[in-house]
Amino acid sequence: MSTDLGFWVLQMLNALQLSMLLFLLSVGLTVIFGLMHFVNLAHGSLYAFGAYVAASLSGAFGYWGGFVLAPLAVAALGAVLYFTLIRSMRRAGPMAQVLVTFGLIFVAVDATRLIWGDLPMGSAVPKTFEGQLALLGVQYPIYRLFIIGLGLTVLAALTLVLSRTQIGAMIRAGVDNDQMAACLGINVERMFMSVFVLGCALAGLAGAVAAPVLSVTPDMGLQILIPTLIVIVIGGLGSLKGAVVGSLIFGFVQTFGAVLLPTLNSVLIYALLAAVLVIRPEGLLPAKG
């Protein structure tokens, strides 16, 4: 154990970085759930797809090409999914939705294997973000600071849109009571579609951002699914604030668990999840108060 302040600053930044990566991923999933009451387990696969697109485009278009095109590609895939499957599954009940989207995960894993092969891929950090920056007395990788910044930016943008714009008001109305919102003249169907596609785009963005830090493998979507679900269950299904709080809790518990209680680290987050489910089954900050 270190008493050096820099060590703790470093771990704090690590925790924040992991939290923001998870936030980008879980916010799309939770907003889709909040609005449509639809459990999309294939969300992780969309993230993997984004990472693959970004990694394969980075050769031709550089990092920023992938950064822009991956969310667009995933959004397009999301739109296809919406019109072929999701729309007709909306009233099918949670069990059918879970089974269908769970099946989609396996389809996606094998599809990525067919297209990109079995070998893991990697992509490089953009030139501007190479190296480390001195911050609060520690040297921290610039790219990780970029992830933290991006997460905060997305959070600020979503908060602003949801609380200050008319579209945000319509979405909040839809979350509260979609039938009433439809009666008031809101085209709920179109709003569902846009929110679903936006959620997919955010998953693609998370994939593109994660590609240079993590390895891009066919099962990365499956590996990230459990942490994402933990985040939204702890935070409260369907709420933006819940996604933020859940991500922060997950990031900090994982990071400081690894430092302070290494032997218990892998069970710590599950114990916390169980505790939340027992004490506050609706999550810490549920969508409807």
Partner: protein
Amino acid sequence: MKTTLKTALAGLAISTAMSSAAFAEDIKVGVLLPYSGVFAALAQDIDDGFTLGLETFGADSGATFQLVREDTEVKPPVGLAKTKKLVLQDEVDVLMGVVSSGVLGAIRDTVDGAKVPLIVANAGNDEATGKDCSPYITRISFSNQQVNRPMGQWMVDQGVKRVFTIAPDYAAGRQMIDAFTTAFTAAGGEVIGQDWPAFQKTQDYGPFLANARASGADAVFVFFAGGEAISFVKQYDSFGMKAAMPLYGSGFLTSSLYVNAQGPAAEGVITALHYVPTLDNPENAALVAAFKAKTGRIPSEYAVQGYDSARALIEAVKSGATDRQTLAAALPKVSFTGPRGELKIDPATNNVIQPIHVYETVAGADGLTQKVLATLPAEADPANGCTMPAAIN
């Protein structure tokens, strides 16, 4: 009706057996590899290496080889079911493959009980040639301890005295690191800290890297493989740690199979393995040329394990073995000089004895390549509780 059919079939079987015996010997090989799942790329390399080995050395063995391939999917129950199918239904003469140690553990008793020889072409868990050893199981690949133990002495000789170790928390990770630390401390080194991130559940190695940095070690010694190895090496470099704390490890960390996905982050990492494609010997030159011509890829350690498994099988056939019983007796006696150097099988455990190569990953003309720094002499693993029954000699 039933009996007449059975008699007819039996007659047919006998006549086929006799006619084939009159000509070349036909050896039926059951191939157990995870063609789908996380190890699919490894399975492909082993399969390509094995078929290349059969093509290269098979011609003058006087036998023909018929392969029956089964996908074990990295799932022990699936591996067991496929093994039973190959043994009972296909009646193979010999089994080859097994990538996952979990699958090897699951099929061990079936293979041993059915007395079918198995050539292990990857799975490295120490028990398979330790307390769970079997006269029917011959390992041609490596054992987890074998690859890591020699690095203990070598690193102390290089002046590295204090290390921090990191490896995923599962059986192979523990065995790889424990073999290294035992040898390292015996040679006078000191392990000043260890971290065990959760296997397949850790995305961010940042917390562990900060621990390693704060420990003030001379160097970090790690084991990771596949996707985790790529993430780890890239994250290690992104924190700028390579300059202050050189990264050492088990050679799978920077395997030629996926080192190019790590990119410049892998440059300067020093690891030890039983094979690298840049080994300078005529057998390896022949393998690299033939493998490239066949697949367009450079052979990885997995490819050479498949290739040498074929070579071992053919050497056994050349010594006169034809069926389960004789192959099982002949396989542990094979020895040859292949791309990895001189190989022989330890009669005490049926594990391969081979030299270990220390290499540095360096930038080459087209992508990353391996610079061999030292070749450490072959050394048999301790028997680890293996008492080899003399049942089949």
